[in-house]
């Protein structure tokens, strides 16, 4: 009630003046408010700053990255910091740098901060501090936003302003709210005896405190295993219990699952070295403390009608009925390592920021464009935005969300400032090259596989095309409005994918013949590889909605897989580029081969039409003359005819069917491809 009155008063105060925003001294106005100066908050701040936008970042702590100041407790980050890749390509190297944020400043690469493959969390804190200060980002520290509400205003960008209130009752008014608070509220479970449970947040990290103890860990994520790893050598034994079975990141290709660096307990469990792993629902659990302070595991079921204070002896333990019950041994400590969830508490009901469903309930519900489902203009960034690709891609981690954050920024630039999504226009002969370049070096595509995709928009007659980088495929249907680019003539979507049915919690990812080597079987590739979807028109929202489960895109008009590569180097002329070119040729319906100037010269005199390469090169006086040695190679390959060598007397001239130009021309007469047939047949119907 008091709040409502307060709100009304605010509104009155606000609109008393002619220009609400400036007249009010009660509000500090910014176009963009960012909550949280963690990696994603700083990342969006960087982009907003670069674009010269009016923004502010609120950070409750005195320094950025407060989560990393605390976590992980054992201080070892599990994001890789690869010093060497054998390549100098900075974009490519970002594929193996999971800690750096994106910026133009080369000093702000994480490898300059740490040489550890798995760096220390303190380094991250230091890095984030540098990132904020070197780039002079607008961060307001010691400002904890405690309440967020809406203020309706038809003039506002989104029909409302966001009103933020900090711990000292200072109000801030923003047109767009960017939530980068991560997930920091520890998940807890309540069961009888849960008061005996220690939390990951506070549990001792000194192994000596665990010497000779028997430990039960609740949870089976990286924090649980990290905790176990730390005390593995000093405990009697560790048991780990969780509802579902352990998911190994090398089997699921999901970096959020259990990483090999922390999985020492799996070793000791499988080698029967006393430690163990159990599955069970924590909700059914109950813990009873005996007089000696030992903790006994029992089931809530046995406690139902009993007074827990009645003492251990009156309580039925599972082993009373089942004398080989697995966790019958008493524990000295029980540690909860159940991860974190998003802090929903500060958002007014009117923002309708709802938790996701099922295993995504720790994240707020957002659209694939990272905008809240409940409130226009509220975007969720960083770890909190992971519901879009939870257990699929890297959107919950720095190396993933640095790209999704950039995507959000591009969406905002288009929506609020009329700056369309950046794109480059190329002549069609660069089609194959533009794709090859990106799939070989682009980091955003690689990290955010199945989520971010490059888009090629064909222009009329397919003589030129527009290249858009790292667009969120989930909102492909809304591409035109979200990017400000037009797609009337068909489009290609370039995306990276793992093979279907290859990754999974119980899949054997080391089976014999797991890798595909031949281009014609590329669609069966298992490891991350580029896939190109071709649509003759933009898929509709309905088609996007009805796409098969686990498919990032609806059924295309044609599809191409570039065969997986052991070195992730997709530049082989015959295995990678040639099949891609054939695919592109058949989609755009033209010949995309390169020709030496001499061939173009011949075509110019003998054909009414020229292939695009000649048209866009030779005819514009940019023909590829080539040196003699190359022409000789082409002649040897039968792809160019050597008119100098042959003695062109009448008969010879006529009767040399082996001529390579003949072959070129003969190729022209090849039957229509099945692919094209497929495509054109649809046209006709």
């Amino acid at each position: 009630m008091a709040q409502a009155v307060w709100g009304t008063l605010l509104r009155l105060a606000l609109c008393a003046g002619a220009v609400c925003t400036t007249s009010s001294t009660a509000f500090l106005y910014h176009d963009y408010c960012v909550i949280g100066a963690g990696p994603s908050g700083l990342q969006i701040a960087y982009f907003l700053q670069q674009a010269g936008r009016d923004y502010i970042v609120f950070e409750r702590s005195h320094a950025p990255g407060s989560f990393f100041a605390l976590y992980p407790r054992h201080r070892k980050l599990i994001s890789i910091n690869k010093q060497y890749t054998g390549k100098s390509n900075s974009e490519f190297n970002l594929r193996h740098d999971w800690n750096s944020l994106l910026s133009h400043d080369h000093r702000l690469l994480f490898r300059h901060y740490s040489h550890d493959f798995f760096p220390d969390a303190d380094t991250m804190v230091r890095y984030l501090e540098d990132f904020a200060s070197l780039l002079k980002l607008q961060v307001q520290y010691n400002t904890a936003i405690v309440h967020v509400t809406l203020d309706r205003d038809q003039q506002a960008w989104n029909g409302h302003h966001f009103i933020l209130t900090d711990q000292s009752r200072q109000n801030y008014k923003c047109s767009s709210l960017l939530v980068a608070t991560g997930t920091w509220v520890p998940n807890v479970v309540n069961f009888p005896g849960s008061e005996y449970v220690e939390g990951y947040e506070t549990v001792s990290i000194n192994p000596e405190d665990f010497a000779g103890q028997t430990v039960l860990i609740l949870g089976r994520g990286n924090s649980a295993f990290e905790t176990a790893e730390n005390i593995l050598g000093v405990t009697n034994f560790i048991h780990m219990v969780s509802r579902s079975r352990v998911r190994l990141s090398w089997a699921t290709h999901y970096v959020g699952d259990l990483r090999a660096i922390n999985n020492g307990l799996l070793d000791t469990y499988q080698l029967k070295s006393l430690d163990g792993l159990l599955e069970g629902d924590l909700e059914d659990l109950a813990i009873v403390k005996d007089k000696k302070g030992k903790l006994h595991i029992t089931l809530r079921f046995y406690l139902e009608n009993r007074n827990t204070s009645a003492g251990i002896n009156s309580i039925t333990l599972p082993q009373d009925e089942l004398d080989n019950f697995a966790t019958r041994a008493p524990y000295d400590r029980v540690i909860r390592c159940l991860g974190w969830k998003f802090d929903f508490s500060i958002y007014n009901r009117s923002l309708r920021l709802m938790p996701g469903k099922g295993n995504k309930k720790k994240y707020p519900q957002i659209k694939p464009s990272y905008e809240s489902r409940g409130t226009r203009g509220l975007f969720v960034l960083g770890t909190a935005s992971h519901s879009v690709d939870f257990r699929k891609s890297a959107g919950g981690f720095i190396h993933g969300f640095r790209y999704t954050t950039r995507a959000v920024h591009r969406l905002l630039e288009n929506r609020h400032h009329g700056v369309p999504w950046p794109s480059t226009v190329y002549p069609v002969i660069q089609l194959t090259n533009s794709i090859i370049k990106r799939v070989n070096e682009a980091s955003g595509l690689y990290q955010m596989f199945s989520v971010l995709a490059d888009i090629i928009l064909l222009r009329e007659n397919a003589t030129t095309f527009e290249y858009l980088e790292e667009y969120p495929v989930g909102v492909l249907a809304e591409l035109e409005t979200l990017t400000g680019r037009k797609a009337p003539n068909g489009l290609f979507v370039i995306i990276m994918e793992y093979g279907r049915n290859f990754s999974g919690a119980d899949k054997d990812v080391f089976y014999y013949n797991r890798a595909v080597g031949e281009a014609q079987h590329a669609w069966q590739s298992n490891f991350l590889h580029p896939v190109i979807y071709y649509y003759k028109r933009l898929p509709t929202e309905r088609e996007m909605r009805l796409r098969p489960p686990d498919w990032s895109l609806p059924r295309p008009d044609a599809i191409h897989h570039i065969v997986e590569d052991f070195l992730t180097d997709w530049t082989a002329p015959n295995a990678h580029i040639l099949p891609l070119r054939r695919f592109l040729e058949n989609c755009v319906g033209t010949d995309l081969r390169n020709f030496f100037a001499e061939s173009c010269f011949l075509f110019a005199f003998t054909r009414q039409k020229l292939p695009p390469f000649c048209q866009q090169g030779y005819v514009r006086m940019q023909g590829l003359v080539g040196i003699k040695r190359l022409q000789r190679h082409a002649v040897d390959a039968g792809l160019l005819e050597d008119y100098t060598a042959a003695d062109f007397t009448g008969d010879r001239l006529l009767g040399s069917p082996e001529g390579s130009q003949d072959q070129l021309l003969r190729d022209r007469a090849m039957p229509v491809s099945p692919l094209q047939h497929l495509v054109t047949a649809k046209d006709e119907l």
């Binding site: 609806p554 110019a604 005819v619 022409q631 160019l640 229509v672």
Partner: protein, 840 residues
């Protein structure tokens, strides 16, 4: 096709067995498996052993003379064969003193006798029985005297034919000679079928010719004459020739097929149907019929059946009995003899397609592939993964060649900016090490570096954008390769000319002089026009262009300077902008603003008034003025002339053209300065690819030189100047008049074909559909709402996919098709469905 082959041969085996089984019955089998089949008897024994109705071949001998030995061997060899027909072979040993009828004659020993019972049928001279074939053929021929009529004339044949009409069919065989293997085959067939069909034999090649067979030649032929069905006495019986070689098996097969009903009616599951045709390894064509159109369908089926007689069976399949969903779209079904291959349902347009379907094996396969595109993919894979890009292939063949990069500095992101300060001019080639065109240009660049070695103030360098994308992005490199010259002052110039050694080298040199070059005095201007300024370019430039501007024309001057920037590196421009500009221009009879052109080939200076004021117009004008009047066309300079978008009058010459022709052509070219075509010539010695052009234009290589008119941009017609006329301006002009009037016939017309994809791509979409079911499931309704028409297509794909899995062939019923699609009137147009294979 190996699969089909083996199944075919399996089929063969099967019916070979049945044939012998048949023979087994036909013969009475006197002896089986005897060690020695040739009986040796005395005359008495022999004659007493003869049974009524049994045939025997006897050879009477006293003692074995060496000359008879060979014959005796052949007789012995044929014992078994003859026994199959119930004919025993006996060697009768005549006692020395025996002078009975068969023993006594001296020449009796040169003869063999055929008896039926004890009646002598025929006596054969032993030289007529030279091998097993001739023995069997002649013996059977003699025995089947009534069954096999021998004719010598066409009239005889027609008489027999007429007699048979309406009664029985006739088998007419031509063998070039009796006693041959073919003759034997015919006789053996006659032995089996003689009672069913009338056999007629001839050895007269002339008869065959008269009977309307063009080339009887030496090969034997056999026809089945359908006289039983013939009702019109005036019409000859319909004949079905046997296409295969005349062997016993083939004849048997042919007769079996001829004996089978023309059209079978099927009212059961077609998968279970088996007919003679299928048993004999031939396909069975089902024509889908329904009650309403039964009569028409029946007629169609018969029509088809007659055409396919001997090649395939035809059956009329009632739609009512088959699951209707399967068939709504098809009108034809094809069952192959191969076991386990499901029936293919097709929709064809007319009966001819059915015929081609069966007859033309390749076409048949294509249609099959249409239904089953995976096969097609496999076939095409042969070419699909072969590189057909000449540049990519050439570069990849050259990849092991080490490039001499000593003259080229390789830059990195770190060294790029410092290097730009190291020399007055730094040329940078931005390339990608994986990109073929860049690598091709890199090889030219190496040559350029070699040419320009030691040039003062010039540094050649390269940046691999695959290694250093940062610098390439910053320099806004969007295409590979990009060649850019960075000058110390911060100016940069991007090369946009031909990617060749000479052109690039020339650009690098020309562009080092400011463009336009400001000239301060009239003397300098004159030196410039003489080509003496700037001295470092004397060996490079061809035409000097001097812009002359008075103080009053500074707007035009600015435009000229801007044009100079655009043309920098391609031409040399001078600028004279002094008070006495008027004096200079007056000398060349123009007034400022004006251009003075000093062409290197003739010493004259041409003055042109500068009427256009925009930089772009001036660029166009300069480019135009630099074009030759009668150029020698080369690979390098053609694009400049192509841009005029005019027809070409081009003289192809092997080496230099003669003075006389040059003079006439020049006259022609100069006579009409603004004329509507490009007059030029091509030296085949300099531009050998010209041979390729001539090859495309003419069927035979014309005698050189040859004058050709090509309208490249309209209609693409090619005309050849009449070789009997001499190349003079007058002749050419009158010829051109005739061309315009449409009185000449083009030698050829340039193909206006589009540059379509040279080869298909891997059809991953389809491959995925076969194995990823959810992909298909989501097809129909994802397209369903917006494009309802697509549904049949996608569901058809679904069915196609299913068809590939034999165990699911029964599920084909799912083929979703809107009912009511008109399938009536299967004859003669079979359906309205698009002609799928016609595209192939």
């Amino acid at each position: 096709m190996p699969v089909t082959d083996t199944t075919m041969s399996a089929q063969m085996d099967r019916w070979i067995c049945s044939f012998f089984f048949l023979l087994f019955y036909a013969s009475s089998l006197p002896t089986l498996g005897n060690a020695k089949l040739l009986q040796e008897l005395g005359p008495q024994e022999y004659f007493s052993s003869l049974q009524a109705g049994r045939a025997s071949l006897a050879y009477f001998s006293h003692n074995v003379s060496p000359s008879a030995q060979a014959f005796l061997e052949q007789i012995e060899n044929s014992v078994e064969a003859l026994q199959d027909y119930g004919i025993s072979v006996v060697k009768v040993n005549c006692p020395k003193e025996d002078v009975s009828r068969y023993c006594w004659k001296e020449n009796a020993l040169r003869k063999a006798y055929l008896f039926r019972g004890n009646i002598l049928i025929r006596e054969f001279p032993t030289d007529a029985l030279f091998d097993v074939n001739s023995i069997v053929a002649n013996v059977l021929f003699a025995l089947l005297f009534n069954e096999v009529k021998y004719v010598e004339t066409l009239v005889d044949l027609q008489n027999i034919e007429n007699l048979l009409k309406g009664r029985s069919n006739m088998v007419f065989a031509y063998v070039p000679a009796t006693g041959t293997a073919e003759h034997r085959a015919v006789m053996e067939a006659a032995f089996v079928y003689g009672t069913t069909h009338q056999f007629v034999l001839t050895t007269e090649a002339t008869l065959m010719k008269e009977a309307g067979n063009d080339e009887p030649g030496s090969s034997a032929q056999l026809f089945f004459c359908h006289c039983q069905l013939a009702t019109d006495p005036a019409q000859p019986c319909r004949r079905t020739p046997m296409k295969q070689a005349l062997t016993m098996l083939n004849i048997h097969r042919h007769l079996k097929l001829m004996g089978a009903p023309l059209v079978t009616e099927v009212a059961e599951d077609p998968e279970k149907v088996s007919t003679v045709h299928l048993q004999l390894g031939l396909p069975l064509v089902f024509i889908l019929s329904q009650k309403e159109t039964y009569e028409a369908d029946r007629r169609t089926a018969e029509l088809v059946a007659w055409q396919l007689l001997g090649k395939a069976g035809v059956a009329l399949l009632s739609r009512d009995v088959v699951d209707s969903n399967v068939l709504l779209r098809s009108n034809i079904a094809l069952k192959t003899p191969d076991e386990g291959v499901p029936i293919k349902y097709l929709a064809l347009e007319d009966t001819d397609e059915v015929i081609t379907l069966v007859e033309d094996k390749s076409k048949f396969e294509q249609i099959q592939e249409d239904e089953d595109e995976e096969d097609e993919d496999e076939k095409e894979n042969d070419n699909q993964d072969i590189q057909d890009d000449q540049v990519v292939e050439a570069v990849s063949r050259d990849r092991k060649q080490e490039l001499p990069l000593e003259q080229i500095l390789t830059l990195t992101e770190e060294t790029f900016h410092t290097t730009m300060l190291e020399a007055a001019r730094v040329v940078v080639m931005f390339y990608a090490s994986w990109e073929a065109v860049s690598l091709a240009v890199q090889r030219s660049y190496v040559e350029v570096a070699d040419h320009l070695k030691g040039t003062q103030g010039l540094l050649l360098s390269q940046v691999n954008c695959w290694d250093w994308p940062g610098v390439c992005t910053k320099e806004n490199i969007t295409q590979f390769p990009t060649i850019r010259i960075y000058e110390k002052g911060g100016r940069s110039l991007t090369y946009n000319g031909m990617l060749g050694t000479e052109e690039l080298a020339s650009f690098i040199i020309l562009s080092q002089v400011s463009c336009p070059l400001k000239l301060a005095t009239i003397d300098e201007a004159e030196d410039y026009l003489r080509g003496e300024l700037p001295s470092e370019l004397s060996s490079y430039h061809h035409t000097s262009i001097l812009g002359v501007f008075s103080k009053a024309t500074s707007v035009a001057k600015e435009a000229f300077v801007e044009a100079g920037n655009i043309l920098s590196g391609h031409v040399t421009l001078g600028l004279y902008f002094e008070d006495d500009a008027l004096a200079l221009s007056r000398k060349y009879a123009v007034s400022p603003p004006a251009l003075l052109l000093a062409r290197s080939r003739d010493q004259s200076v041409e003055g042109i008034a500068l009427s256009k004021q925009s930089a772009q117009d001036i660029v166009q004008m300069i480019r135009y003025e630099l074009l030759d009047i009668f150029p020698e066309i080369t690979v390098q300079n053609l694009p400049r002339y192509l841009q005029l978008r005019k027809p070409f009058l081009i003289m192809f010459s092997d080496g230099d053209i003669s003075q006389m022709e040059r003079k006439e052509m020049l006259k022609l070219a100069k006579g009409r300065p603004q004329q509507a075509f490009v007059t030029c010539w091509l030296n085949l010695k300099n531009t050998p690819v010209g041979h390729g052009i001539l090859k495309a234009y003419f069927a035979t290589l014309p005698s050189l030189p040859v004058l050709v008119w090509v309208s490249l941009h309209t209609a693409g017609q090619v005309f050849r100047f009449p070789p009997d006329q001499s190349v003079t301006e007058m002749n050419i002009l009158s010829w051109l008049e005739k061309l315009k009037a449409g009185l000449e016939i083009p030698s050829s017309t340039l193909s206006e074909e589009d540059w379509k994809p040279p080869l298909p791509a891997y059809n991953f979409l389809q491959m995925m559909e076969t194995t990823v079911p959810e992909f298909i499931l989501h097809t129909s309704y994802s397209h369903g709402d917006t494009q309802e028409q697509q549904q049949p297509e996608s569901s058809e794909e679904k069915a196609t996919v299913r068809e590939e899995r034999p165990e699911e062939s029964g599920v084909k019923a799912e083929k979703g098709q809107s009912p009511g699609r008109d399938l009536r009137g299967t004859a003669p147009r079979l359906a309205g469905r698009e002609k799928r294979h016609s595209e192939l």
